[in-house]
Each structure stands twice: as structure tokens, then as C-alpha cells.
Symmetry: C2
Subunit: 225 residues, 2 copies
């Protein structure tokens, strides 16, 4: 249990809160842990959206079924990831998605309304927690905005350049590495891997960039296409 708290303190939602402090505030938050075995549901669509979840161990996925029952995967969750907070904080009544365990999982659940509202004796660390929650959602927001910007481009080439130019700008350098392999980058940009590989080759031959594996280097030729 002691170990559990020190692990928690490294996760984004509890950043800046020491293990002892976490132990002190968990009761304020209506916390409970739950174990879900592989393939089982963490949340089911239609359940009340009250919880902020933190995946402690294992892997899980967020899925949604459409009108006809076709299922699609919205996110893959890893230990330390926070999930469900957007639904609970948005004030919608029921979960529009399900969360399913891909492996045996341990989950920490917090009552979202208690996380959002400073408790009566206004513990100092609660403020930190709310700021972490805000920060987490803000970061997800930024990530979504970026992804949408890239995906909105018409062609594979434009999507690639949009992403790569932004990476270069973010690092302030023409050379950088990315956190994806080819398939991962294609999935992120919503394009086909082989078409993307072909496009990268063309860009290489045109002298616009160089790449090997996850390393890229943009040549600054000021072309606009």
C-alpha cells in the first residue's frame, strides 16, 4: 500500500503531491480501487459519468459503439493515464463510451464532483489536484488541436509536412526524432502507411528532408507545397 502511494505520486494527476499527502486526501475524494480481469468492463456506456479514473496497472482501451453497433477504439490507456474526466467534468449524465480491460487491470476511481470541489476543510493539496486536472485536460486539448490541424490537410504530403514542420518548430531545430514508427505516424495522421512511405521517399529525393527511422531533418528550402 505504501508502494502504491509512491507510484501514484509520480502520475500526472498527483504531480506535486507527496505520498503521505495523497493518503490524506484520498478519503476526501471518495476513492476506491477496482480490479478488472482481462476483457472485462471498467465502465460500460450508459453508466452515470461520475468518476475520474486512473489506470494503475495493466492496459485498457476506450471504445464506442455507433448506432448500428459497430465498435471503434478511441484510445489505448497505459498505467498513469487519467480517463473519464472529460465526461464527468462536462456535466453529461451518462458515459458515451465504454472502457474495457485489455489485460488484468487495477484502477483507482475518484468521485469527480469531489475532485472538482474543494472540500469543506479546504486541504491545500486539493488545489494542486484541481490544477493537475485542469492541466491534464488542457494538454489533451492541445494534443487534439494539433492532430486535427494535421488531419485537416488534404493530401498525405501536406499532412506529413504539417506534422514535421510543427515538430521542427517545437524543438527549434531542423533535426529531431519523433515518438512514432512509420505505422504509428500513419495512424496518427490518418493516412495509409505505404502511401506515406512513398511520400517520404519523394520528399527525400526532392531534397526537402532526410530521415532514418524516427529521425528527421528538414532542409530549409522555403517551398510552400
Amino acid at each position: 500500500m505504501e508502494d502504491f502511494l509512491s507510484v501514484l505520486s509520480r502520475y500526472a494527476l498527483f504531480q506535486g503531491v507527496a505520498p503521505e499527502e495523497i493518503q490524506a486526501i484520498l478519503p476526501c475524494l471518495g476513492s476506491k480501487t477496482r480490479s478488472v480481469s482481462k476483457g472485462g468492463p471498467v465502465f460500460l456506456e450508459g453508466e452515470p459519468a461520475r468518476w475520474v479514473g486512473v489506470l494503475l496497472t495493466g492496459m485498457a482501451q476506450v471504445v464506442q459503439d455507433d448506432y448500428y453497433g459497430n465498435r471503434s477504439v478511441l484510445a489505448i490507456l497505459q498505467p498513469g493515464d487519467t480517463f473519464g474526466e472529460a465526461f464527468s467534468c462536462a456535466g453529461i449524465a451518462t458515459m458515451p463510451v465504454s472502457v474495457m480491460a485489455l489485460t488484468d487491470c487495477e484502477i483507482l476511481l475518484l468521485d469527480c464532483s469531489r475532485v472538482m470541489t474543494t472540500c469543506s476543510h479546504s486541504c491545500h493539496f486539493h488545489t494542486q489536484l484541481i490544477q493537475n486536472l485542469l492541466k491534464g485536460m488542457a494538454l489533451k486539448n492541445l494534443a487534439f488541436t494539433e492532430k486535427i490541424r494535421h488531419m485537416s490537410k488534404k493530401t498525405t504530403r501536406e499532412k506529413l509536412l504539417s506534422y514535421l514542420l510543427q515538430q521542427a518548430k517545437k524543438r527549434g531545430a531542423a533535426a529531431f526524432t519523433i515518438p512514432y514508427d512509420r505505422q504509428g505516424l500513419a495512424d496518427y495522421l490518418g493516412v495509409e502507411r505505404s502511401a506515406m512511405s512513398a511520400e517520404l521517399s519523394k520528399l527525400k529525393k526532392a531534397g526537402l528532408l532526410d530521415t532514418k527511422g524516427s529521425w528527421f531533418c528538414l532542409k530549409d528550402t522555403r517551398r510552400d507545397d
Copy 2:
């Protein structure tokens, strides 16, 4: 000035806070108003990301320039819209975007760190404000997630059906109206208007749906394509 406060109380960020109460807490938040004339900058990329902005009057747009200086429009802002909060709450140092006035604008600026942190004498309405901020970001998050889900589909038809089926599901009815005209829907889904119109015609002829203007009705034929 009195009118200004009652208008504010109708905006999302101040929902549930009465005009008098807004007047009381504005000083806690380091608030200031600013007028920007048409075409001028509200924020410029690279400025410190400290502010939560609320557009009071006029129209503005959020823009971003890439590595080569190509500009793209990320959002159009209307009165009542909150902007900049994701950058400030995420804890990044400088704004990655600029906000430009499309018409003469009046803007309310709040110091984000003061909004996020309950002030020393812990005014009650501050809690409401933080919850509104959380709720606003959560709602943006949900909207982004939905948009990405639709845009991730490969073909125009799949994007259309993804969106329409979700709308049907959300209303719990096969017939509904949408908040877009054809061009707006095409922009939202990231497809071409004329191709989308053609696809809608095909779906009509196939008996899968009926539509007139912003009204749609899905025929429940359980096809998976």
C-alpha cells in the same frame, strides 16, 4: 458597466455567478478589458501564456503559422467564447498561436493562475468559476474527440455516416436536424462539399436516409458499410 456584468453572467465561464458576484470577484482575477481594432492582434504568438480571454464583442480568429510562415485558421471566436485557457492551464511558457481581431473587438482578460487558484479569502464563487473552466475544457475535449473520430474514417461516405449515426444516437431518434449547412458540414468533416453532396444523393437513392436542408432521417437497414 452594469450591462457588461449581466452580459458576462450569461457566458459559459461565468454561468451560475450573478452580476454582482462577478463584479466582486473580477478584482481577484487580475481582470482587464482591452479593445482591439479590426485586423489587430489580441495575442501574438510567443507572448507569455498567462491569460484566459473572453470575447465580449466582435469576431476574432485563432491562427497559427508553421515553420515556413504559412498561416492556418484554427478557430473562429464569437462573443461569449473563452480562448487561450488551454495554453495557460497547460503550463506552457508561450502562446503557440496568435489571436487576431476580424472586426473591432472588446476582450476581457483574466490572469489564468489567479483563476486556477482559489484566492486567500476563498470566495465561494471562485469554486464555481473553476468548475466552469473545467467544464468548458471538458466540453471542448468531447467535441474534439468526436470530430477526430469522424475525420479518421477513410471515405466521405464513412465520415458522413459516422457523424449522422452519432447524431441519431445522441438524440435517440432517427430524425434530427444538424447545426450546419452543406458547406459547414463538409468543413467540419474535412471533406469536399460537392463530393459530400454526391454521396448524400447516393445514400438517398440507396434508401439509407432522407434529407432536406439541415434535416436528416436515417432508415434503419443495418448495413455496415
